[in-house]
């Protein structure tokens, strides 16, 4: 039995424990101990404006494979979609979700349905609002463009796995003057988004989306756990470096 496997299991168990502890600590009330990320504040404003002027919100979940590491970013996108579906359920135009992967499209339909149901607006749910735009990254990117142009979208939330092709989406949104908040787990995608999107989420900020949109205490708890892990990782790196220097490792 390899020690890395054991260490990995311990890490996972500790993370789960911390998440539950933090979730219990601020259960029932939103956790406010988070630094301000302006992009999320502007997203709130954009959602409000979209509801006010009856335009549509577009949530793009990227082309992550559900069986891959990118799935994490897509899952965060789904959490955001759920919240946005709830918050915009009084809008004249329900939000539309596009995906570059079939499993994500199915999940986006389920998420939209549950979002509308929890907002008692199930009548607004339309299965074609959770759609596949294309099955390869670039066919997905160009498949999203008509949605931006033809469906009077005023705000785009790109939350998922996007490569550099996301520049096509952000560029089109920019040309049509619609708001774009975009985050990707792909670093080249983030770099491109920093230059092209109005409100880019860089690094881990995408994974904080659920907590900043108040998607539930477990989201805030996982963020606090992430901070604890950060300290642990930093300590481990420094300690390991010292041990390596003195020749123990």
């Amino acid at each position: 039995m390899n020690w890395m496997g054991i260490a990995g299991l311990i890490l996972v168990v500790v993370c789960v424990g911390l998440m539950f502890v933090f979730a219990l600590l601020h259960r029932g009330r939103p956790y406010r101990g988070l630094r301000s990320i302006p992009a999320f504040n502007r997203l709130r404003r954009a959602v409000g404006l979209a509801v006010e002027d009856g335009s549509r919100l577009h949530v793009s979940l990227g082309s992550a494979n559900l069986l891959g590491p990118q799935a994490a970013s897509a899952l965060v996108g789904l959490s955001m979609l759920d919240r946005i579906a709830q918050l915009s359920s009084i809008s004249d135009r329900p939000p539309v979700a596009t995906s570059g992967d079939s499993t994500l499209a199915i999940l986006s339909q389920d998420t939209l349905r549950s979002g509308f149901r929890s907002a008692n607006a199930l009548d607004q749910y339309d299965p074609t609002r959770g759609r596949v735009a294309g099955l390869t990254p670039f066919s997905y990117a160009v498949g999203v463009i008509p949605t931006l142009v033809d469906e009077s979208v005023s705000a785009n939330i790109l939350a998922g796995h996007f490569g550099p092709e996301v520049a096509l989406i952000a560029d089109t949104a920019d040309q049509h003057g619609s708001f774009t908040l975009a985050g990707s787990d792909s670093l080249p995608g983030q770099a491109v988004l920093y230059a092209t999107a109005q409100e880019p989420l860089i690094g881990e900020e995408l994974f904080a989306g659920g907590a900043y949109l108040q998607a539930g205490p477990m989201h805030a708890a996982s963020l606090r756990t992430q901070d604890v892990l950060r300290w642990a990782l930093a300590g481990g790196l420094v300690l390991g470096a010292l041990l390596k220097l003195v020749g123990i490792l």
């Binding site: 029932g28 404003r45 891959g68 929890s118 670039f138 900043y212």
Partner: protein, 878 residues
């Protein structure tokens, strides 16, 4: 039910003395809105998760955002809090959550039949006015919610039993304490308008049509058919109260006994009968009950108006359970939303002028002399219709028990009978002005009295009319100065609040009288007996002829809005702000977009032109110094023994095939030269097609001998496409025989290959950091399971976009060599001394890249400078 309270959250029964549910900590007895500041009651985490509350999240969010839209973005996510909590419950209490989810799954229309589980507001509603009626509550706490001035008449009837029994001290106490309630009433017309507009958009199944607010009768038909059938005389003004119960099916039968049992300290089963008489007789009930009970009703007109959505800020509604029942989705979260508190407070402050208008009218009704309140028997049905069971109890009351109460509330009825319509009483006035034109002189007033005349009144016999003799009252009474009312004796203070429904039915006349500013008819006029019409034989009803004789043309009111100077200034200011906001912004946006188009076009043309120019005029040589990691890769391939099995992973998209082919072609050529047996695999659906392209791009027209085995695919095997991303990679890495769809154990290229550890080298051709990571991570994860896999060198051939972050894997020894991009390919070709596709494209590439660098530098600096200037400009303007 009397000694147990059902929790509005988890719907389990709790002892009545508990304030908080012993199962889910939900509050069982919400604070009385009248007494509490609008701070919401403690919210159990589960609460917002209920469908009803989720339903109103948006309707609550909207105002919140509209707040947040105007600046204060830095307030973080507070605006989302109430909805956040809605989802927060989700993880907290899975067991109850699942129950509630089931409820919510059953759809909104199914929430009504089960108030406890699926509609906490309904659950809240009961404790709400239960607590309002408890004896512990101090009078002033509940007073604010007694906006009798703005109550519809039927609500006066609701108040009647309590006020009738209120002890003396209530009077003085009530005067000043009324104000908050009156503030609410002062604000009423405003929100009544909102109710109408809201009602239009409201698609809540339980929401009545807007007219309901103004024609309770109609509303009654919509809302409360069954109980009404059981109640003796159908009274137009009644429906709202029973309708309150009608949403939560058993409400009327449950609420009243509950309330009475609290008043009487008796179990509800017996409450309806005995409960009335004792307080009617002895006035046991403290004044606190009166306003609270009225408060319950006070919420209802809002409710009828479909006020659910915007009813939050109305103080009267804090305790008013009507909205909680009628618009269950809407009220409870508002009570639980911290964000709402300021709105609440502001709603107290705003309508204060309205309060001044309302107060006199309301207090005026307290001013009636006891003498006039003798003949109130006809008014008796008032209470009856107001609460069916209560009415029934009155009917069944044996005369022997009644003498004591009778004088008390007969006074009250009498005194109230001609009570003028308070200023804040829109309903009658509206009915009158809209549907009833001023009758010409001489025409009896009956016709439009008939319109609202209760059936029972037409059936009144002389006996009752005899009792009605002293019930006349001049309509001028309300003009009593309000300053005096605290000094009024208790009876006077309480009595006027009673208003029999048949008197309400006549109030349009009072409106006329009031609006025509007629002097009060003399006493003898009041004493005359009506001879004709349905009121024949009644004494003291409003006289038709004298009144008609005094009719003048109603004064015409100017429609011009009366505004103060400051209001005009503010309006002008707002006008200017809006103008500034809209016009220039639109222009700037247009200009910006058009200028962007031009700039975009210029940049595109320049880049394309530079690429073309470079292809014709080569001016930049290929850098000769290869990177260390590329040298490692070259040396590793060079060190390969003949016909060694090599795995090549084609994980790039067609979009980057141009670059990847430039980088990989020389490596593939080198491998062919070494006679490596190639196994091709991909996790991209298009990978195999791109592998074909790459192989085709390597072959030179005059193919050297070493390329022959690859031309006829003898030395190449296509293992196929690995689905499932990293999962597919992992299953392939663990067991290629099962993981690869086209694994052929009998293929000559796989004779000595049984696992990935048998390959001499693994070449990862990837354009993406993520697929590269996926392979490297899965190889690392499978390392322990596949002996010897860690020893197999992994070489990366990547796009320039993935290279920077794949380098760390060189440090971690997960990869052993790296070649990236067109430049890497060109350098590798130089090492091989066989110029190929990379060398051919280098000149165009260099030209385009240098042009882009110049463009970015110049354009960036210009834009940066412009933005600096614009920032300074905006600072100066500010």
């Amino acid at each position: 039910m009397a000694d147990q309270i059902r929790c509005p959250m988890c719907s389990r029964l709790n002892p009545a003395d508990l304030d908080v549910c012993q199962y889910c900590q939900a509050r069982l007895k919400p604070l009385i809105a009248g007494s509490t500041p609008p701070v919401p009651p403690p919210t159990p985490p589960s609460q917002p998760e209920t469908p009803s509350q989720n339903a109103d999240q948006p309707s609550e969010e909207a105002p919140d955002w509209l707040h947040s839209l105007r600046g204060k973005e830095e307030t973080g996510a507070s605006e989302w809090d109430n909805t956040a909590e809605s989802s927060s419950g989700e993880e907290d209490i899975p067991d109850w959550l699942s129950r509630i989810r089931e409820k919510s799954d059953s759809g909104p229309e199914e929430t009504a039949p089960e108030p406890p589980a699926s509609s906490p507001p309904a659950g809240n509603e009961l404790p709400d006015w239960l607590t309002g009626a408890t004896f512990e509550e101090p009078a002033q706490q509940s007073q604010p919610s007694a906006p009798s001035g703005d109550l519809p008449d039927w609500l006066r009837d609701i108040r009647e039993p309590d006020e009738r029994s209120a002890p003396g001290p209530a009077g003085p106490a009530s005067g000043p304490e009324e104000q908050p309630g009156d503030l609410a009433s002062g604000g009423e017309p405003g929100w009544l308008e909102q109710l109408r507009s809201q009602q239009m958009v409201s698609d809540s199944p339980s929401a009545p049509p807007p007219s309901a607010a103004f024609s309770p009768g109609g509303a009654g038909e919509n809302q409360i058919p069954d109980w009404l059938q059981s109640s003796p005389p159908p009274q137009p003004p009644q429906p709202p109260t029973p309708a309150e119960g009608s949403t939560g099916s058993e409400q009327p039968s449950e609420d009243l006994p509950e309330w009475l049992s609290n008043l009487m300290g008796e179990p509800p089963s017996t409450s309806s009968e005995p409960s009335i008489l004792p307080w009617a007789a002895a006035g046991e009930e403290p004044p606190a009950q009166t306003p609270d009970f009225t408060m319950t009703g006070a919420g209802q007109p809002m409710d009828w108006g479909g006020a659910a959505v915007f009813s939050i800020p109305e103080p009267g509604e804090g305790a008013g359970s009507g909205p909680a029942q009628m618009g269950q989705e809407n009220i409870s979260p508002s009570l639980e939303t911290p964000g709402e508190t300021p709105d609440w407070l502001s709603s107290f402050g705003e309508p204060s002028p309205g309060a001044d208008q309302v107060e006199p009218d309301w207090l005026a009704s307290l001013e009636n002399p006891p003498a006039q309140s003798q003949a109130s028997v006809p008014g008796e049905p008032g209470p009856a219709v107001e609460e069916p069971q209560y009415y029934a109890s009155l009917q069944q009351t044996p005369p022997a028990e009644s003498p004591e109460p009778t004088p008390d509330w007969l006074e009250a009825l009498g005194s109230d009978q001609p009570a003028p319509p308070p200023a804040s009483e829109p309903t009658p006035a509206l009915l009158f002005e809209e549907s009833l034109p001023t009758p010409p002189p001489g025409e009896p007033v009956e016709p439009f009295v008939m319109a609202d005349l209760p059936d029972w009144l037409s059936a009144l016999g002389p006996a009752e009319s005899g009792q009605a003799k002293e019930s006349g009252q001049p309509p001028a009474q309300p003009s009593t100065p309000k300053g005096t009312e605290p000094a009024e004796p208790a009876e006077e203070a309480i009595v006027p609040a009673e208003l029999p429904s048949w008197v309400q039915a006549m109030r349009p006349i009072e409106s006329v009288a009031a609006s025509s500013a007629a002097p009060p008819p003399s006493q003898e006029t009041d004493q005359r007996i009506e001879r004709a019409g349905p009121l024949a034989g009644l004494k003291g009803i409003l006289p038709a002829e004298p009144l008609v004789a005094e009719y003048r043309k109603p004064p015409t009111y100017s429609v011009k809005l009366q505004t103060s100077e400051s209001q005009k200034r503010y309006a002008q200011l707002l006008d200017e702000m809006l103008a500034n906001e809209t016009e220039p912004l639109a222009h700037r946006a247009e200009r910006l977009i058009s200028s962007q188009r031009v700039l975009r076009l210029v940049v595109g043309i320049l880049v394309v032109a530079a690429v073309l120019l470079g292809s014709f005029y080569p001016f930049m040589p290929i850098p000769s110094q290869p990177a260390v990691e590329m040298s490692n890769l070259y040396n590793a391939v060079e060190a390969l023994p003949g016909s060694a099995p090599v795995l090549m992973v084609f994980d790039y998209e067609p979009a980057l095939a141009g670059e990847m082919e430039s980088a990989a072609a020389p490596v593939l050529d080198h491998l062919m030269e070494k006679g490596a047996r190639l196994s091709l695999v991909t996790t991209s659906p298009t990978g195999q097609a791109l592998a074909d392209r790459l192989l085709g791009s390597v072959f030179t027209p005059e193919a050297p001998d070493y390329q022959q085995p690859y031309l006829d695919r003898q030395a190449v095997i296509d293992l196929g496409y690995l689905a499932g991303g990293p999962a597919g990679i992992y299953s392939f890495v663990i067991n290629p025989g099962l993981g690869a769809p086209r694994w052929a154990a009998d293929n000559s290229n796989l004779q000595d290959v049984h696992s990935l550890a048998d390959y001499r080298q693994i070449f990862l051709l990837t354009d993406s950091l993520d697929t590269g990571r996926a392979w490297l991570e899965q190889l690392a994860a499978a390392g322990p399971s596949v002996p010897g896999l860690d020893e197999v060198p992994v070489m990366l051939v990547t796009s320039a976009q993935a290279a920077p972050l794949l380098r760390p894997y060189l440090d971690s020894r997960q990869a052993d060599g790296l070649l990236n991009g067109l430049m890497g390919g060109a350098q590798y070709e130089q090492l091989l001394q066989r110029p190929g596709v990379a060398n051919r494209r280098w000149d165009s590439f260099a030209g385009g890249l240098l042009a882009a660098i110049v463009l970015v530098v110049v354009g960036g600096l210009v834009n940066g400078t412009l933005s600096l200037f614009s920032r300074r400009k905006t600072k100066d303007e500010a």
